[in-house]
Subunit: 205 residues, 4 copies
């Protein structure tokens, strides 16, 4: 009793891409907290040495949250999922999966130069992987790419990697400048960015 497969313009396919990505991102964001080891002492002072690890956790939580948020919006502009998109997405998840490591190294060494620079390298690679995924989707959408129009000049997407590229060498001069730049980029993305929402609303209206 053979039956034809359910195949509805790749929609289901997209559901799995999103579901898998959500799973990986959810685990990444949650295992970072495992680095905050409960102190053996019961005094409030026992929390003090954990402050750097906590701050680096907050920063990474913000970054992973921003990636999830942007990933969510980007995929809403497409309903086709192709082989190259699956791999570009896995490539992005690979670099995001190194966030817990980079966060732990930086937090444990109190924002020392090398770990701060390394954190920037991971941020830069993740940004490059995100850009690649974006370009892959735009290429699939063709000359009238909806995503391309929604992105506009994409100045945030251009400024972020540039800032990381400055922050990486700067860490060896002053790690605090690097940290300031990382926080600056995070805040840049936290400010609501309604490009895709607005474009989609315009389309629906």
């Amino acid at each position: 009793m053979p039956r034809p497969p359910v195949w509805q313009n790749g929609e289901m396919s997209k559901g799995r891409l999103e579901g898998f990505s959500d799973g990986v991102i959810a685990i990444i964001i949650t295992i970072m907290v495992l680095e905050l080891k409960a102190p053996h002492s019961e005094t409030p002072e026992a929390l003090a040495p954990l402050v750097p690890a906590f701050l680096s956790y907050v920063l990474s939580f913000l970054y992973v949250g921003i990636y999830w948020n942007n990933h969510h919006h980007m995929l809403q502009t497409t309903n086709r999922v192709t082989g190259p998109m699956l791999w570009a997405n896995l490539h992005l998840l690979f670099w995001l999966s190194l966030f817990p490591f980079a966060t732990a190294w930086m937090g444990e060494n109190h924002f020392a130069p090398a770990p701060s620079a390394f954190y920037g390298v991971i941020l830069l690679m993740a940004a490059a992987a995100y850009w690649t995924l974006q370009q892959t989707i735009i290429a699939v959408q063709g000359p009238d790419s909806f995503l391309k129009k929604a992105l506009g000049s994409d100045w945030k997407g251009r400024l972020s990697p540039l800032t990381y590229a400055i922050a990486i060498p700067a860490a060896f001069w002053s790690a605090w400048i690097s940290q300031g730049l990382y926080v600056f980029v995070a805040l840049l993305w936290l400010v609501p960015d309604r490009r895709i929402e607005r474009a989609l609303a315009g389309k629906a209206g």
Copy 2:
């Protein structure tokens, strides 16, 4: 061959918000159990030192379960997902992600004053984040907010943070009073709360 994106009143969007939240909450609830380290000895007595860690695990499991349950009902009242809602939701997940740490510190130190107070701080911050998410949804729903009506006086939502605020300083006087208050609030929410279910049923009827 460009095709228009699938965009159905934000429904898909909500699916990802729920799926991601479920993923994070599922991981939080499960990694807490990692704190229960299998004893090296094979005697039944080897389990005795784990009792405080087990009890704090049960309490946190209840709390995370309550949050999942309420989150589930709250999101059923809306089908629109906006940028601020995504961030208010991530903010809630951030505080929930600190439950494993707070639980481990409290369990390992046998409900000592400082860890007990700290646990209350995390409970309070999570409650505040939940309230913020609730207000964000109500604001999106506008003056006739369905969620607002369903919540009614929201006395549980008001009483809980107040109780935490009392339990935090009380921990330094007697940690058992704090624990009692935490258990009291958990039981308060365990008692079935049919407000949203009833309101939705009334709507459907």
Copy 3:
């Protein structure tokens, strides 16, 4: 611009219940493998001491797989999700979440009496929680409960807890009898059980 909530006979609700349960069960099944710590030595002999931990992992993987499988079939008989069902489900997940701990303790102590008995206690509690969830669904479905008919005499569901109840005290006499009984029950469930599938097929036909 208030819009009515999407409310379709609780279907969406069920999606989240399933998704959350899948997430928790997926994490439980996967973190058990973390107990298999990679040996520091590179010789093949270094794997030998891990054999008991590996065997207890296989047994627990089977049990969690059986629970996922049965949970999957049971929920297919219903499309209503009520508050008590959410809590009965969380209660089941709570006992399943203790599998990694029970597995690690038993594996590390080479199936010693107390850990073997403790493992049986967790199996028994999980079976009781599963039974409670089953009864909750049957109660919601009312006198003509489809699930109740599909289960028939439910002899496996009755025999399993009975077997655990024998295996628990037996562990202190001979842990190998208990292990044999645990394996026996697992195999019992592995043999395809088509009751619900057949009942659903009959209904559709």
Copy 4:
């Protein structure tokens, strides 16, 4: 008020099979990174000893990514989920769940012979389990199996286990030959394989 269950040709069922598999695979791919322990030293040189662990992580990430990708395509050819398929799928997930262990042992021992051979054994068992799942789906689809036609000669599926079977004993002669063979097979699958996509497109066209 009994209501008939929602039963739509097993589609929902497939959703849970995919969702659960995605969850397990997402966790497997992410916990492998936990083996990359943040060094205590803050110098860039502190990263050097981690290079073998990092390389084995990259290799395993690729393999798990390939499995996810192929699993995704394979399940798109079917919309029926049977009991044997659920178990064949769990069997595949079991072998995939041993990747973190095999990866950690190989990485920690700098690709020594025994761990390299063991890694090949896990690859071989996972390939066999994947093949079993494939055959189970083909059997369900009957004589006109869509999946069978889409796979064609399945030369990659035949060559891969053969290569692992050579690589396993070769590890004791030269572990680098084995590693080269593992990388070779991974690259083989990375090259886009459009069989199923093309077959589905042809069907839709």
